[in-house]
């Protein structure tokens, strides 16, 4: 079985280099389901992985909304085919970080931060397909073996590190640590493996008739966002590995370029699935946006929201942008916040949060007479709001 995979991988790798047989370049290899671990290394990895899956399954971070889970699963099935997706368990984790991964026993973890960043089904399919390709080619095992043969200590440090992270490493863990540690250690891939996964990922996209250029757009935007965060924090040098996804996936601009080149060669379709994607995400969009805004990463979040808004500025996006500006609250941010609240309310006058935010922003700008009607409207729309008493005390003459 494994030599077969190797052979196919080698063929695929050759195809990138020389494009020896262009028509067959993106043909899918045959797939055998219900795979069981074959030797001591693999059984060991699976044991750790099964335990890790059990913890993930019981985690309070898992989003158990059936509709959303079914949708993400259906996208994976459409991308990689029904024969492949059947055994995969997907866990959607409420973590505002751009990440997804798939482990050797067939567990796929998709972070809410990833779902927030995707604009359509094709973009999501490209990521899920890419992760599935690592799984199908059993890259993590090869990588584990390679590390183990060079240094057993290193390999076990990686395993123990993953376990420690899974069991929760104390409450002083920041997202910074999260990015690097959570499930990460076992899933670092080499550049060749990335290339193989990219090619297989494109084969899925082609088969499923998704628009292939979506893949390179995702990579590019993720890098732009990392750039924006760095610039916003006045950091020198761009370290893409600070983004969760890149911590386990070595990348650079060259890769985005060859992804574009591959996308041009793939005989894919044009399906984007923008409406289907947005409908599926709609019930969660406000929550995911809120989680992102409160990360205190103004520039990165501004980039992300603007990218999503580039296609269409919807009320939830405008509201999120307004909240982002209000929470940073530099004197120059507050007038902007008020303007975004106003735009959001033009699109949807039934947004209590927007009245609240607009009122509070005006209040902080010492424009109490303008703030009062806005806050009163908030109280009218949401008389039982958790902060109603507090807001009432602002409105009342003092």
């Amino acid at each position: 079985m494994r030599p077969m995979v190797r052979l196919l991988a080698a063929v695929a790798a050759m195809a990138t280099l020389g494009a020896a047989n262009p028509e067959r370049e993106f043909d899918l290899p045959t797939y055998t389901g219900a795979y069981q671990p074959q030797n001591v290394d693999e059984r060991g990895m699976w044991m750790v992985d099964d335990e890790s899956e059990r913890l993930t399954r019981d985690s309070r971070l898992v989003i158990r909304d059936e509709a959303l889970n079914n949708y993400v699963h259906s996208v994976l099935c459409r991308a990689v085919g029904n024969d492949r997706c059947g055994g995969v368990r997907i866990y959607i984790l409420r973590v505002p970080v751009f990440n997804a991964n798939m482990s050797p026993n067939g567990t796929m973890r998709v972070y809410s931060g990833l779902l927030l960043r995707m604009r359509n089904e094709a973009e999501l399919a490209s990521i899920l397909g890419h992760e599935f390709a690592h799984f199908e080619m059993r890259h993590s095992l090869d990588e584990f073996r390679r590390k183990r043969s060079t240094s057993d200590l290193l390999a076990w440090t990686a395993v123990l590190g993953t376990l420690a992270a899974t069991y929760g490493g104390g409450s002083t863990q920041s997202y910074g640590d999260f990015r690097i540690s959570v499930y990460g250690a076992l899933f670092r891939f080499s550049r060749d493996q990335e290339r193989e996964a990219d090619i297989l990922g494109f084969s899925y996209m082609a088969e499923a008739k998704y628009r292939p250029s979506a893949a390179s757009e995702v990579w590019r935007s993720a890098m732009n966002e990392a750039d924006a965060t760095s610039t916003g924090r006045a950091l020198r040098g761009q370290r893409y590995d600070k983004t969760a996804f890149f911590a386990t996936h070595p990348t650079n601009l060259e890769r985005a370029d060859y992804l574009s080149a591959l996308a041009n060669r793939v005989p894919g379709g044009e399906y984007e699935g923008r409406n289907a994607y947005q409908a599926a995400l709609a019930p969660w969009l406000d929550q995911f946006l809120e989680d992102q805004i409160k990360l205190n990463d103004f520039a990165g979040t501004e980039y992300l929201i603007t990218r999503l808004g580039a296609e269409e500025w919807t009320a939830p996006l405008l509201l999120a942008r307004a909240e982002l500006y209000r929470l940073r609250a530099n004197p120059r941010d507050l007038p902007n916040a008020v303007e975004f609240y106003r735009q959001a309310l033009t699109l949807n006058p039934d947004l209590p949060t927007a009245y609240r935010g607009m009122g509070l922003s005006l209040m902080r700008m010492d424009r109490k007479s303008e703030a009062t009607p806005s806050l009163s409207r908030y109280l009218e729309l949401k008389p039982d709001a958790l902060d109603a008493d507090m807001i009432r005390s602002l409105v009342a003459p003092q």
Binding site: L61, R94, P96, S174, R233, L360, M365, D387
Partner: protein, 200 residues
């Protein structure tokens, strides 16, 4: 030969000398009925029962007390937080900046300030603010609010806080404990501490 043997010994004794004072000045007992100034400020507390003061301060102008151990039933005092300052000590000013208090911050902004700080500092994905209501604290109009969050160790914790802005500077006392058992058990101890707060 002697030199190479001596080196590690010197290093160890140097390290011991450095760590010794910290070890000696570990956690302090706060005795019931005694008035103590907290968080290096003029805010003073007269607790009706014994508390342990942790030597590790969460921030420059902050202090944490506990009954049974860190993170089980913590009271944290924050005092004199000025505009432009974060609530907790920043892990990295550049890479992991925390929200800052603003000169135009209102009492209604304090819960969001605490939420943003917790989310960023402790890596919390699930955090929800509960009810907030106006109250009096240190003889001034104040805000009292509750919150709930899940820490990376997968425990749900609850919190209650009271805060006041005195000429733009934030004074706040928070109580954080696991929702299971501890929060209810010691919430009244926290409220008693709050009730005893005085400022010079």
């Amino acid at each position: 030969m002697l030199k190479s043997l001596l080196k590690p010994v010197l290093l160890i004794s140097a390290a011991a000398a450095l760590t010794a004072p910290a070890a000696l000045s570990a956690n302090d007992l706060i005795k019931s009925g005694e008035t103590v100034a907290v968080a290096k400020s003029t805010l003073s507390i007269t607790p009706p029962r014994d508390w342990n003061k942790l030597s590790a301060r969460p921030g420059k102008k902050a202090e944490t007390w506990t009954l049974d151990g860190e993170q089980l039933n913590d009271i944290s005092f924050y005092s004199d937080i000025a505009p432009g300052e974060p609530l907790l000590r920043e892990r990295s000013k550049k890479r992991d900046p925390l929200p800052k208090l603003r000169s135009n911050s209102l009492l209604t902004d304090v819960p969001e300030f605490l939420e943003g700080t917790y989310r960023a500092h402790f890596g919390i994905a699930v955090f929800s603010l509960g009810a907030s209501k106006p109250t009096k604290f240190l003889n001034e109009p104040a805000i009292q609010f509750t919150y709930e969050y899940v820490t990376p160790d997968e425990l749900t914790r609850r919190g209650e806080a009271i805060a006041v802005l005195r000429s733009g500077k934030l004074f706040m006392i928070t109580y954080d404990a696991p929702k299971l058992h501890f929060f209810e058990r010691n919430i009244e101890d926290y409220r008693a501490v709050v009730a005893s707060a005085k400022i010079a």
